[in-house]
Symmetry: C2
Subunit: 421 residues, 2 copies
């Protein structure tokens, strides 16, 4: 990709067929360059309206009646929509609880389904909360179970061969983040799933950093289980409930280890003993947080309207553009590319490394109003969200990064880290 960086953004934006979607989001501060939709997606205008309807009408006026009329089936109704983003069938996904709780449920269920296999395989590119949950689940699953964390050779990617060496007939389950949170490296879902299945292991994908950014093919690849969050590329709102996916033929065999009334067959009979619902709903537990849950829908609708192929095409084009700009303008200042070069193996953010990354990130946010985020040890993550990120914003962000380092704007900030960004 050859770009004259000083001039390239405008024509790219002009020919961007997704550009009109930007108007569908609340952006009342155009001077803010927001490249952190991979942490918290922007507010869809429709969600703003939906929030009023939910609070004023459904809760305030409908009261308990809204449970029957509107809320009771939300987890699977929204799950069915999200399933389309996952390449899954409508009755294979469900929206409820946090990603961590969903992961716990599915890992414990999977281990019960593979009682004689001691090992769970993951990698050190996985999101730390996933690793903590695996540690939790294994502790409950008995002393013979063991977690194997495969090490990435470069802290950024994991070659299939390295992973393959860790999978064997005693592997119960392989758990990976499909797109990894630091480098945006994308595992080859089909190849890893094939590999695991060859040994009789189950595969569980955390697709938090993939869903809504690139088309997924859970069903086509034969994936067994998945979880993911809705507050990044789905623009579902802060801490919005997460989804889980269980391939249809596995559902009857898997048992929810946190069996609450919402997963029970006919819960309003209030029977003393648990009897699971027939389908995906058995993976529900308690009463879901309706306001946060229902507000996931508008963002999902926007993605379905835009189409994931178009979203992915623009995402690749934008990250390619960003990498070309990095090469010309930022590499000379000591920035490294901490994301894969190959767009097929890269999600929708680009991590740039710099020894002063933490302070640079802070100066960017506070002095220049460019918002990426920072992930230790040295990654400045620049996320593009094709529904609202412009090429002009990407270009401005690169110029801002350049200015922060060239003018040492970061020097006034302390080295220690606190909080989220």
């Amino acid at each position: 990709m050859s770009i004259d960086p000083a001039h390239a953004a405008r024509p790219l934006d002009a020919e961007d067929e997704l550009a009109p979607f930007r108007e569908r989001f609340v952006i009342d501060d155009p001077a803010l360059i927001y490249l952190d939709g991979n942490s918290l997606g922007r507010l869809p205008r429709a969600a703003q309206q939906r929030a009023r309807e939910l609070v004023d009408e459904e809760w305030g006026r409908g009261l308990i009646g809204s449970w029957n009329d509107r809320w009771l089936r939300l987890p699977e109704r929204l799950g069915a929509k999200i399933a389309r983003l996952l390449g899954a069938e409508a009755d294979e996904a469900l929206l409820a609880d946090s990603t961590s709780v969903n992961l716990f449920k599915l890992v414990v269920a999977a281990l019960r389904a593979r009682p004689d296999r001691p090992r769970v395989v993951t990698d050190d590119l996985n999101f730390p909360s996933d690793l903590y949950i695996l540690q939790s689940a294994l502790q409950l699953a008995g002393p013979e179970r063991r977690l194997e964390v495969v090490r990435s050779p470069d802290g950024m990617t994991l070659p299939l061969e390295t992973l393959a060496a860790a999978i064997s007939p005693d592997t119960a389950l392989v758990v990976l983040s499909h797109t990894t949170f630091r480098s945006a490296f994308v595992h080859d879902m089909a190849a890893v799933t094939d590999l695991a299945h060859r040994y009789g292991a189950l595969v569980l994908w955390d697709v938090s950093h993939s869903v809504g950014a690139l088309p997924l093919s859970l069903r086509e690849t034969g994936a067994d289980l998945a979880v993911g969050c809705t507050y990044k590329y789905l623009n579902g709102g802060p801490g919005a409930p997460a989804f889980l996916y269980v391939r249809r033929d596995l559902q009857p065999a898997l048992q929810n280890p946190i069996a609450g009334w919402f997963g029970r067959e006919d819960p309003f009979r209030f029977a003393l003993d648990y009897q699971p619902e027939a389908g995906i709903r058995r993976f529900l537990t308690g009463t879901p947080p309706i306001l946060s849950l229902a507000l996931v829908e508008p963002g999902v609708d926007l993605l379905l309207e835009a189409g994931l192929d178009r979203v992915r095409a623009k995402s690749v084009r934008q990250t390619e553009y960003l990498i070309a700009l990095w090469e010309e303008l930022l590499a000379p200042l000591g920035f490294t590319l901490n994301s894969p070069r190959d767009p097929a193996r890269r999600g929708s953010h680009v991590s740039l490394g710099h020894p002063e990354g933490l302070r640079i990130n802070r100066a960017l946010v506070e002095r220049l109003r460019v918002v990426p985020d920072f992930r230790a040890p040295d990654n400045i993550r620049l996320g593009v969200c094709p529904l609202y990120t412009t090429y002009a914003e990407v270009l401005q962000a690169v110029h801002a990064l350049r200015a922060v380092v060239a003018d040492r704007l970061y020097a006034e900030y302390p080295r220690e880290h606190s909080g989220v960004t």
Copy 2:
């Protein structure tokens, strides 16, 4: 209590010092008699405003920055407020996840803390989801663990002696709903806790039907653990996140069995291994649903402003009034009192039994716009919420119940049950 039911409501409302609080709620349909705040509390006006601020300002404009500024500490900041309703210290409560998930966490943690005691004791008045969760937790805790469900002799109450007979030195944990969901029977928290502690067992209270309806004394009674929901008397909104309580001195010894990043010390270091936070925050798991979580605050604030002693005094007066009306007007039509007569042992709803309860309830809602709820086999639950329920509404509801039976308005409805109400 002697009341001429035709005339009694007006003077009671006139002298009600909590009456002004009704204005603090959205009630734009005064013809609807809502006696189901024990299932889903009404919408506080302040919550309506807070929802706009949360969505428009904090999410829409503040974006990721709101995590640092507003959201990250919400679980314990709101937990500290709820602690005042629990009779607990500020650092002993936390708001996150559903009641069922919180219960699972605390039960598994408690069982680990009592490894040599096989039995968990509960009763059949407990909310069924709690029983399902106990079954789940015990299944994970090993084959030697056993759940003992003490049977209520009358389906309505549980004498202390009956419970005492089930508690022994091999009891690890006693788990009860403080106010039970069908009859509103209230266990004697101090006596049960003493009893359990005498045998070295831990006690876990589900206070979902108590919190916000009557003053609680978790600390004073020495209670070990508690969970509860926020969408009933706290008016936190549909499915709003639940709280958990862990007595301060127990916190270091208990381990969260679903250890996610939000409970980790310094989660934004993204270390590979879990290390729990020092205090109550270790019982967090994943990212909490911020919109649903934050909207719990206005309802809690109203209760703190009103004062639980005044709330409880009005609640008792209203349920006494309702029972007096039942005796005069409804008992002759075949309604039974399925709640305790003694107000000290009764929460803030009154259950009236009738063989046609299911159909009567439906006719009430659809024909007469009186909204209680129904709990099998035959309970019509009439909940009073002192912050907004008037004596006039209680009286009208009784007249409506009378009319439905006297005029056989229920006869057109089918006998089978579906849905929530």
